[in-house]
Amino acid sequence: MSSQAQGAYYVPHGTHWPILGSFGLFFTVGGAALWMNEFEPGKYLMVLGVACLLSMLFGWFRTVIGESLGGLYTKQVDTSFRMGMMWFIFSEVMFFGAFFGALFYTRMFSVPWLGGEGDGALTNFFLWKDFAAAWPTNGPAQVGGVFQTMPAWGVPLLNTLILLSSGVTITIAHHALRAGNRKHLLIWLGATVVLGALFLNFQAHEYIEAYTKLNLTLDTGIYGSTFFMLTGFHGMHVTLGAIMLSVIWFRCLKGHFTKDHHFAFEAVAWYWHFVDVVWLGLFIFVYVL
């Protein structure tokens, strides 16, 4: 595994982007905190923070792209980036793991126990006498009131197909890039972005329906909590992925990337596949089962 360094490893001398990013994060969460604690103006601070973050991303990536085009990045540097991205995705997996864990734990343990199964007999007898375990549920106290769930075989199935095909299109795009066929690259990558947007649009409708028609909200007991937190965080990741894809699309348009030197493209592709896989888990465990 020990790397043969060909030429010196490029070490940048100084950067002012990270500190901007730190201020960005600081304003964002600080503003959010103020806002949540009923201090309206907090949201402006939040906007400022997001702006800082965006400009950091822009500036940081511009610098990196410049260096990349400037040919400063050896194979070894490239490997560092790849490892960085892989481990970042791994950390994302663990983040979703926490919420899937919550879903499994409640479905397999807490709800049955509240319903009096196994170890829960006493809990049910003394505290929740007339509660029978079931899924979906909003708990013995019916938190959030009567609700309906999202049928799996409608929009969710459609969204599954959309995401899966977007996984295919991006792979085709990758092959096109490898083959040096820029035209197909742009078409298929564009298609991927469109599919992503489509997915988000459907999910937005789904949420609206849940809130307006089904009385399925974030406050709908444990079902609503897990449903919206899981699909919500996934949706955010799709959004992020779609944005990154569009950036890559414009870079392709500007003629960036070569047949064998296009890490940014691959990184985004990996990320997109990750988002894809997470959705499969969601579809199965949140909607179908």
């Binding site: 360094a5 490893y9 990270p18 610098t63 960085g84 793991g97 708990g139 013995p140 406050d219």
Partner: protein
């Protein structure tokens, strides 16, 4: 700046950037960033110690003399959070930054810009966390474990606490990604994985643990946030959730976390003891495998923090057995350290003193850990000062001692100057005495039945609490001693040789002291005899 970098990154390597901003805030240099981490954690240790000062002072005598109970809980909570996330973790990352590239012959960390960001998030995170002390409703007071429903009864501080932890998480994750990429991708040709210093190994494994569990903590506190502000029911039985579920998620992070705080310490001790024993580390490979198996086990024992929540019998038995297993690989390490000393040619410079005391006192902490693992006994120990004694032995005389040992060990390499051995030894013996006066009586208090996280107690606990507080007051002098010794050395210390310690091996000792601003800009030629573990055949 691109062009600047292109133009200049080859010539004039050694002139450090001028001006505070360019030198420190914009830094991409692993040594400067390492220094930033260490300075930051030093400040945090003092802040955390100050909080413990409030705790110990209130607990000196029965009756409430100084603070209201709620404020006491704020102090306990902040003390725990600051010490763990602000003191121990950043100082280990600082040491990683300084040493890993030098130990594996790399020009810098793999991703220098991200390295800067990893650090510069921290001050903001702790500004957020500490700011809660000054807002109406006060700081979080639910303990560093933040168990709901209590933790979400807290006022406006909840959001700030949660976001602060998110930022710390981002920082740790980026730092760890950087460390892994550096170790796997930046080793000089010939530095095989099994020739790496144990410190590097320990960090490779620790970084993996961090990437695996920090996101889980982020998830757990996010659920706290939504339960508190957005009406979700994750931890509310009435809504089908379960308060105990938080504890499972938290401790799935929390237990690996405690090993995150000790594994780099193991690495440090495994560097120092061979140096001053002038004898190769006993069972190098066994040490590496032990590290790996401890890391693995740490993922499957979290339930031992929850023996009293009423898990099914099967679960309790499983977690007891799994937890006890950890004594085996840890034992291997302890025995290997002892065997390294055995048959060596020992001298007792300051780093060695700290290392030896680490082995003894950490082991004592480990022993109480194994006692805690015995479920029926834990029913009595849990949430008493016996636990407090346990984790201070592993954290203070374990993690913190390792950090101090490392600073004394590598200081000459960093600054090119030796420190005053006599004063350093005084610092050691002073700490040695008072840390035990401080924490050993807490075993007795716990066994006698004193619960933790209480501001006042029955008079039967008065005597040992008084003793413990005296110990604490003794400890509060140590940061000043330490600071003075290091400051004096920087000013007036005798120049240090490249190989500052006679028995020292490893690449870091092949570069001059102080280490030039950029080391190994081109990979060094590895000569096995330079390495501590160059020849793993024995």
């Amino acid at each position: 700046m691109t062009t600047h970098a292109v133009a200049h990154h080859d010539d004039h390597h050694d002139d450090k950037p001028h001006g505070f901003l360019h030198r420190w805030v914009f830094s991409t240099n692993h040594k400067d960033i390492g220094t930033l981490y260490l300075v930051f954690s030093f400040i945090m240790v003092c802040v955390g110690a100050a909080f413990s000062g409030v705790i110990r002072t209130e607990l000196m005598k029965p009756g409430l003399q100084f603070v209201q109970p709620y404020f006491f809980n704020e102090m306990t909570t902040m003390h725990g959070l600051v010490m763990i996330f602000g003191a121990i973790m950043p100082s280990f990352v600082g040491l990683a930054n300084w040493m890993i590239p030098m130990m594996i012959g790399a020009p810098d960390m793999a991703l220098p810009r991200m390295n800067n960001w990893s650090f510069w998030i921290l001050p903001f995170a702790f500004f957020l966390l500490l700011s809660t002390l000054f807002i109406p409703g006060g700081a979080p007071a639910g303990g560093w474990t933040m168990y709901p429903p209590l933790s979400i009864q807290g006022g406006d501080s909840v959001a700030l606490m949660v976001f602060a932890i998110h930022l710390m998480g981002i920082s740790s994750i980026m730092g760890s990604i950087n460390i892994i990429a550096t170790i796997l991708n930046m080793r000089a040709p010939g530095m095989d994985l099994l020739k790496m210093p144990v410190f590097v190994w320990s960090w490779l494994i620790t970084a993996f643990l961090l990437i695996a569990v920090m996101p889980v903590l982020a998830g757990a506190v996010t659920m706290l946030l939504t339960d508190r502000y957005f009406g979700t029911s994750f931890f509310n039985a009435a809504g089908g959730g379960d308060p105990v579920m938080y504890q499972h998620i938290f401790w799935f992070f929390g237990h690996p976390e405690v090993y995150i705080m000790i594994l780099p310490g193991f690495g440090i001790i495994s560097e120092i003891i061979p140096t001053f024993s002038r004898k190769p580390l006993f069972g190098y490979q066994a040490m590496v495998y032990a590290l790996a198996s401890i890391a693995f086990l740490s993922f499957i024992v979290w339930g031992h923090h929850m023996f009293t929540v009423g898990m099914p019998l099967g679960g309790e038995l499983y977690f007891m057995y799994a937890t006890m297993l950890i004594a085996i690989p840890t034992g291997v390490k302890v025995f290997n350290w002892v065997s390294t000393m055995w048959g060596g040619s020992l001298t007792f410079e300051t780093p060695m003193l700290w290392a030896i005391s680490f082995v003894v006192l950490f082991t004592i902490g480990g022993f109480s850990g194994v006692m805690l693992a015995l479920v029926p006994a834990d029913f009595q120990y849990q949430d008493t000062y016996f636990v407090v004694a346990h984790f201070h032995y592993v954290l203070v005389t374990g993690a913190l001692f390792a950090i101090i040992a490392a600073i004394y060990y590598w200081w000459p390499k960093w600054t090119g100057r030796m420190y005053n051995e006599t004063w350093a030894k005084f610092h050691f013996w002073w700490t040695m005495v008072f840390v035990n006066v401080l924490f050993f009586p807490q075993h007795f208090l716990g066994l006698a039945g004193m619960p933790r996280r209480i501001p006042d107690y029955n008079v039967a606990f008065a005597d040992w609490n008084f003793v413990s507080t005296i110990g604490a007051y003794g400890m509060y002098l140590t940061p000043f001693m330490f600071f003075f010794i290091l400051w004096h050395s920087k000013r007036h210390g005798a120049p240090a040789a490249a190989r500052a310690w006679e028995g020292a091996h490893g690449l870091e000792w092949t570069v001059p002291s102080p280490a030039p601003f950029h080391t190994f800009a081109t990979p060094p030629v590895i000569r096995d005899e330079d390495l501590a573990h160059g020849d793993i055949s024995h």
